[in-house]
Each structure stands twice: as C-alpha cells, then as structure tokens.
Symmetry: C2
Subunit: 366 residues, 2 copies
C-alpha cells in the first residue's frame, strides 16, 4: 500500500488553495455540479487528478453502488453481464446501478454528470472504447472503472476483461472438421468489430491447417442478430450442391438461430442435413431446437472479474491490465457428421424419427 500512503492525503482545502478557489467550488466540481465555469472546473479536476484525491470517509457511510453501463440492453449478453456484476455486488452488500447510454463505442456525455453524483464504488463499462475526457473525469474523482469488452477491442491504457475469440473460432471449426465436414461456411459478426475478425481468423487457421478451401462464397459478415444469420445462411444454402456448405459456423448464438430458421425454410434438417455451431452460449443456445453446439463465452464470469477488479481498484492503483478468459466448445445437438459421410439409407431411417416428411420437401428445394 505504498501508493495509498502518498495518496489520499490532500484535502479539499489544499486543493482549493492551490486552485485559488473556494472549498465549495471544489466540492461542486467533485459532485459534478453544473454551476462551475469550465476553466475552473478543468483546473480543479487537474489538481484532484495529479494529487490523486480520494473520497475515503464518505463512501463508507453511503450505500455502496456498482454501476454498469450498456449502450443497449437489447442483447442476450446484457442479462448475463448484469447477473455477473449482481453476484459480486450482492457478496459485497452493494447494489447495481444500470445505465443504458451512448453508442456501441462510448457512453453519452450526460451520463458522466450522473455518475459523478451517484459516486459508485466503480463503473463497469460495456464498451469497446472510452473517450479520453470520460477517463479523465472518472480518474479525477478516483472512481475506478473497468471495460468489459466481448468485442475484443480493448483500450491499451484501461483495465479490461475479454475472452479468447480467435481460439473460439478455431475450436468451433475444428469440431466440424473432426466430424468429417469439408465444406464449412462461416457467418461472423460485423466487419468493424475485432471479435468478428478474430473468430474469422480462427476459422481460417483451422481450415488451412486441415488443407481445406475457404472460398469467398463460404465467408460472410453478419450483424450478430437473428436476421443476419437467416439472410447470410439463406444465401449460402442457395449455392449449388457441390459448393453448398454441409456445416455453418454462425459466429453468435443469435445468428445460429437465424441459420436454424433458414434450414427449416429450405427443408433441411439440423443436424442431419446441416450442422450449425453458435458462439456465446447464452441461454437461448440451450433452449433452441435442436440445442446448439456453441462456443461458451464466459460472459457472467467476465462481469464478475470486472466487478472484482473494481473492488481491488479501491485500494490498489489502477494498472492497465487486460484479462482474457478462455472460451470452450460446448457440444449439443446441432452438429453431426455430414450426410455424404455415411450411406443414405441407415441415415434416413435414423432421421425418419426426426422429420420424415421433410425429406421429399428437401429434395424439391434442391
């Protein structure tokens, strides 16, 4: 705790003196009040930051809050992450404050005002980037923050938690190769997200190591939503027999649900006619029919780690640590050997159990 010896010593009075303003002005800045002239505000913030002022006495008396900020709650990720933070909060008699704000990349400016007033123990940000101004304002009030970054695009100078996307893409593709698939398509996420590219590169490496072709017709970029999965899969399933993939790595569980629907619409049975692998392992992966083989991204554990980091940051100096948790393949019922790899007759009877009448339909669709 050498750091703490030096830090937390400066008082509001000293800051006020150095800044040449009144104590109440300093506390206004600390409390995120709007009635302070910007130049004064900045000067005070700088002093607070350089002297690493810490509001120690206060927070202990108040009801501790851990804040989690999303750009959108409309995602299966959200619930898993909230539950992770809630687990840690509960264990520390704290509560979770939830804010939906800003874009995929950073919270909106007005958010910062609110958080300065709420004074949480710390902030978990589910964003891939964070504006310098936001960092400074949080640092000036010594409000610790950690970025949860499933998108895999961390800020170098900020503590963040992510997971191993490349390895996940590799594992998903290898599983399909080991089942005997040779024509394997991929629908990864948006082109501007690093996790999409990492998963795609994992797929490419696995295919390359197996000496399998990955033509452009087998590689698509989606939107991480059901619609994208449905549309891209519909395109790939429209390819003529030899080019058509016998398996699709869907890049996310939601996209995998879209692939399942595209298969159903085309009269293809999963996994008999088409194998599908998801990514994330959110609840719906277990609930879908058939249950999805998917890459488990430990979202809840990532959130727990992030919240634990915050608690440590109350006493330790922030160090720009990047924690990357392992992903793992979860094999369920949406993957099987490709149709070609076994004589049709036994396969068919085996699958007649599954959906007999779709077989002629499947043929008419071909």
């Amino acid at each position: 705790m050498r750091d703490d010896e030096e830090l937390g010593r400066i008082t509001l009075a000293q800051v006020a003196k150095k800044a040449g303003v009144s104590i109440s002005t300093v506390s206004k800045v600390l409390n995120g009040r709007q009635d302070v002239a910007p130049p004064t505000r900045i000067k005070v913030e700088r002093l607070l930051e350089t002297h690493a002022y810490r509001r120690t006495a206060r927070s202990s008396r108040e009801a501790p809050l851990i804040e989690i900020v999303f750009h959108e709650l409309d995602s299966m990720w959200a619930l898993e992450l909230i539950r992770g933070v809630e687990n840690v909060a509960k264990a520390n008699q704290a509560s979770v404050v939830l804010t939906e704000s800003g874009t995929r990349h950073s919270p909106s400016p007005d958010w910062i005002e609110g958080v300065l007033q709420r004074r949480p123990i710390g902030v978990v940000l589910v964003f891939s980037a964070l504006p310098q101004s936001v960092k400074q304002q949080l640092q000036a009030r010594s409000i610790p923050f950690v970025i949860i970054d499933p998108a895999g695009d961390p800020e170098p100078d900020v503590p963040s938690v992510g997971s191993a996307n490349w390895t996940g893409g590799l594992a998903a593709t290898r599983h399909l190769i080991e089942l005997g698939h040779r024509r394997i398509g991929i629908i990864t996420g948006p082109e501007d997200m690093l996790c999409s590219l990492a998963r795609l590169d994992g797929y490419r490496s696995a295919m390359g190591m197996a000496g399998l072709a990955t033509g452009p017709e087998l590689v698509r970029f989606g939107d991480f939503h059901v619609e994208g999965g449905f549309d891209r899969a519909t395109e790939m399933l429209a390819l003529p027999r030899p080019q058509r993939p016998t398996a699709i790595f869907a890049g996310s569980d939601l996209q995998a649900l879209g692939v399942l629907e595209a298969a159903r619409v085309n009269g293809l049975r999963v996994p008999h006619d088409l194998s599908v692998v998801g990514y994330d392992d959110v609840q719906v992966a277990r609930w879908s029919s058939p249950a999805l083989t998917t890459v488990h991204q430990p979202l809840r554990q990532m959130a727990e780690e992030a919240a634990q980091m915050l608690l440590r940051l109350r006493t330790e100096e922030p160090s720009a640590t990047r924690l990357e948790l392992a992903t793992s393949l979860v094999v369920r019922n949406s993957t099987a050997p490709p149709p070609e790899s076994a004589p049709e007759a036994p396969k068919a009877t085996k699958a007649t159990k599954a959906t007999p009448q779709t077989v002629p339909a499947a043929r008419t669709e071909d």
Copy 2:
C-alpha cells in the same frame, strides 16, 4: 394537491420533539442506520408515517434512482422489465438500481436496510406479495413502491401492475379452435400461481364455449421453464392417436420451446403436425424456429407503467390501484390447421414451401 398541503409540513425537529428523542436519532431512523434501539425506531417510524413526513429538499439535490427488485434475474421477464423501468428512468434523468433478493414472494430483510440508505425515488418490486413490515418501513420514509405482478396475485392494499391472464388463455385457445383444432392440450404454469390458473380457466372457457372436451390427459401443470414444457409435451405426444392433441397451448414461451423440442424428437413438424402457442412474447418467441404464435404480455409496458406510477406517487398520495394491461395474440408460424383437415400430400409441400415466403413475411409485422 390538497394532500400535499396537509402533508410534508412536519419537520425532523417536530418529530424528534413528539418522540422525545434527538433530531440526530430521527435522521438515523430515516437513514436506516442500525444504532437505534428498536422501540425508539418503531416510535419514530410511526410518527413519520402518521405525519407523512416527506424528504423533499434532499432528493432533489441527489442523483435520482429508481430501484427494481427481483427474486431472480434468471428469466426472460427480467430483461423486458428492466428495459421498461430504464426507459422511464432515462426520460427522467434517473438511473436504475437493480437488486436480486429474497424469494418469489418477497425480498429478503437485509434488502430493506440498503434501500433506506439508497433513498430511491421509488421501488418497483417484482414480487407477488410483500410483508407488512416492509410496507411500513417504506411508507415511514415515504419511499413509494409499486408491485409488478405478472403472476397475477396482487396485494389488495398496494399499487400493482399486471396483465389480463384469463383473457390471454382464452385468446390462445380460441385461435387454435378457429384453425380447426379439436384436441387441444394445455401446459399451464405451476399450480400455486394465480396466473397459471387464470390462463387455464381461459382455456377451459374457450373449449367449453366451443363444446370441446378437456379431459385430464389434456391438462398439465408445468414450471414455466423449457424442461417442464418438454416433459409435459412428451407425455401428451405419447398418447395414442385419437387422444393425442393436434395443438398445445404451452402457457409460456419457454414451455413452448420445450414443446418444439419434444415435437422434433418425436419426428413431428411444427406447425404441420402439431400447432404450438406460447405465452409472454419475450424475444425468444420471435427467434425460435418456427417463430412462435404467442400471447403478448406487455412486460416492458407494465414496467413503464409501474415506474410512471412511482413518479406520480412522489406528489400524489398512494392509492391501492391495480392496473391490468391487455394481452394480445401474436400470430407467427407455429400454428396451422390440424393435419386431418386437409389431404396429406399438398399440405406437406405447403408446410415446407409456403410457410417461409408468405407467413413470416406477412405476419411477423403483427
């Protein structure tokens, strides 16, 4: 605002005088501090309650919080409800505090200590019951609270928001009857939840009005989870042909997903061989394959209404209002006429060909 004229007048000093204690003791009670003797605490609480003390000046200066309390976040309901409260909070520059606490029926005692310290604008409780002690402690600090009660088991003396379960059960069943189904099974929720019974009664009334039999083999109680839906459906689908239902009203979307899987395992196509209706219309209902016909329970809107009630309760006196929002049938792709009602062959192609192009395109808009 006649109420407000009379209320909010009493000061801490007056309460202290009446209680024969110091002002600091009164504020300790207000702040949920533990270092107050229980008798004193109760005496002060009574005075605060009878004189409807209101902490007006304070809350305006603080960062406003709206608290939502769940017994478990592990539910598709949770995300929808959180989003509803978040919408209202955002519009009012407030933040949402999220707590997971207690049982299905009430939050745990330690929760109350925390909420008294956090001093939210108000509390949305997702519980069917609330202990008298909790009500009194919240009322004493004039922290407004509203119960969101999708379970349909409201406290008579507490403002609550629910939805029309009986009507929902009726609409789901009538839809299947209109499609030509005669053997219609139901998997409703747990026997000890009023919403389960209300939906079952809606089903019974619809069947009765159509002069259709509802033998015990067609009526099952589930758990509102996928597993319950799968198990109960597997039982019903094992019935010999004449008794076997051609349609199942699944009582919840999660149970409906279980029914879809049971159908798949039994080689039955939905909706061609078996029609399935869900309940709730949570996200997964749109994502499942086929997309679920379901009863829309306006969870997000229910949460919005509850949060709006809280904001009104800041200025109005609480009146034990029960707000019941309408449910509505959303027709998607999991329901169709029963197999018997048309020759087999054309049906088969229709089920695989027509379903995709026409039905989703046309009806997902609903």
